[in-house]
């Protein structure tokens, strides 16, 4: 349904999108994941024909985004970041305006508007002006605007950013519901957001596509490495000197040092039984151990490995 080949976009000297290629089929919920400024929005803007690329091609439903822009736009429903809407219009007026430009015949307009109002739960606010709506309702109105012509592809840029936790869950459920029938491209810099909603994840960093797979596949990639957290009472120099000598430890980092208790995050190659080995190591040195825990590898590790930065994890409502 979407074929992107070697897409490149520069803004002056900075390369916003660098040689990105991917395919997407109908029925997929595709998540674009990456730190802020990674090139997610630019990629979406190219797909929606708002910008053009400097090199490469992109096809949406068989139409070229540069050559057959109007046809492409008919296929797509797009909600840009932070749902920009005309604040001086009424909710119904706004939907009517979009329906008119979307060329929905006058006889069906009312019905379609009713449908998207139902889907997005806008019933309570139809009498209001857009400017009076809360952030959550604006996001829903933005979504309903993108759905009004029953597009085959929905592109949502940071659809849940700035919402409170319960609104995030609502929007997320809405996306899941819609994703059963439509292809969705969904971008976020928040990892749980993407792993909760998407059937496939594309990780973008500094304009490059660094990973492409299902959440399970990507989590699988992070395996091959075991991470153990320990807290020991002892002297820092002594502990670190001895840690350096351990052959199976590939890396360690002091994560906590208050008073005499030191916390370490130790990574090692898989298959070393690192936890047991480290326990033995601590016993041999007659230190006292206050914590030993094995970290479960997750998408976050993949994200970290691939992008070299921490994923934003500001969702504590899981």
């Amino acid at each position: 349904m979407i074929q992107v080949k070697n897409l490149t976009k520069r803004y002056g000297a900075t390369v916003a999108v660098n040689d990105v290629s991917f395919d997407a089929k109908a029925g997929e919920v595709l998540g674009f994941l990456g730190p802020n400024g990674a090139g997610k929005t630019t990629t979406m803007r190219i797909l929606t024909c708002y910008l053009s690329a400097d090199a490469g091609t992109a096809k949406v439903a068989g139409y070229d985004v540069f050559e057959e822009s109007i046809e492409v736009r008919k296929q797509i429903g797009y909600l840009p970041e932070s749902a920009p809407l005309y604040t001086d219009m009424g909710v119904l007026d706004y939907l009517n305006f979009i329906a008119q430009i979307r060329n929905i015949p006058k006889s069906q307009r009312k019905e379609r508007i009713r449908e998207v109002i139902d889907i997005c739960g806008l019933e309570k606010v139809i009498q209001k002006d857009v400017g009076e709506l809360s952030k959550g309702y604006r996001q829903r109105l933005g979504l309903s605007q993108a759905l009004i012509h029953a597009p085959s592809i929905l592109i949502l840029d940071e659809a849940t950013s700035g919402l409170d936790p319960s609104q995030i869950i609502e929007i997320r459920n809405l996306i899941k519901e819609i994703g059963k029938e439509k292809m969705i491209i969904f971008s976020s810099h928040i990892l749980p957001e993407v792993s909760a909603t998407c059937s496939r994840i594309l990780i973008i960093n500094e304009g490059r596509l660094v990973a492409n797979g299902t959440p399970e596949e990507l989590a699988g990639r992070a395996k091959g490495q075991e991470v153990v957290h320990i807290s020991i009472r002892g002297h820092r120099e002594e502990i670190e000197a001895k840690l350096n000598d351990l052959s199976f430890v590939s890396d360690y980092k002091c994560v906590k040092s208050d008073d005499a208790i030191l916390g370490y995050r130790i990574s090692s190659q898989q298959g070393n039984n690192a936890a047991e080995e480290i326990f033995q190591f601590v016993v041999d040195n007659h230190w006292s151990l206050s914590e030993l825990r094995q970290e479960t590898v997750s998408l976050e590790d993949v994200f970290l490995q691939l992008t070299g930065s921490e994923p934003a994890d500001n969702l504590s409502n899981e």
Partner: protein, 238 residues
Amino acid sequence: MNNIAAIFKKEFRSYFNSPIAYIFITFFLGISAWFFFRSFFLVNQAELRGYFALMPWLFLLFIPAVTMKLWAEEKKIGTVEILMTLPIKDYEVVIGKYLASFALLAVTVIFSFSLPLTVAYLGDPDSGPIVGGYIGLILMGGAYLSIGLLASTLTENQIIAFILGIVMSFVLLIIGEDIVLFNAPNWVVPIFSYLGLGAHFSSILRGVIDSRDLIYYLSVIGFFLYLSVLSLESRKWR
């Protein structure tokens, strides 16, 4: 056509949903009436020539205020991104927005008919220059609007769009003024005097509507609308 109508309707309503239209109409009529009546009873002649002569200068300040938000605001709040990803051609949006601003101008001009009616009540004015003056007013206003619209596509700041609109119209207005023409090199004089926004207006004011003046204003409008479309398309230039 359908798309142009949708954009037109939305923009025209937006003028009247906000205070802009009311402020514009009230101030424009108030100030123009003030300038008119200030000299009307002194001169004691039933004519509107002084009133029309003032218009290029009043438009200079008022018209960019009408057009400044048309694109700058869309860019500022980001609605342009939804608008330009709808299945609508750039020129359709430009024309729709232009027509909406033009309609506001037309409404204002209709309200200003109270002046010639007053003059007609008090005396017996020559109707030719008045009819011509109004046609000229609409054409010249249309040209100013197209310039202001271009200015609005160039920035996301309404104040800058406003000032830019004034500056661009000002340049096009003064190149046809005598004081510039006297000091300009000889070879540019005919070009400048042809391109000047006000010169054609003065010739229409005489009550003679020459096709050259008509063509001039329509070309100016077409030219600046075309530049607006180019300015919007520039985001997609590779």
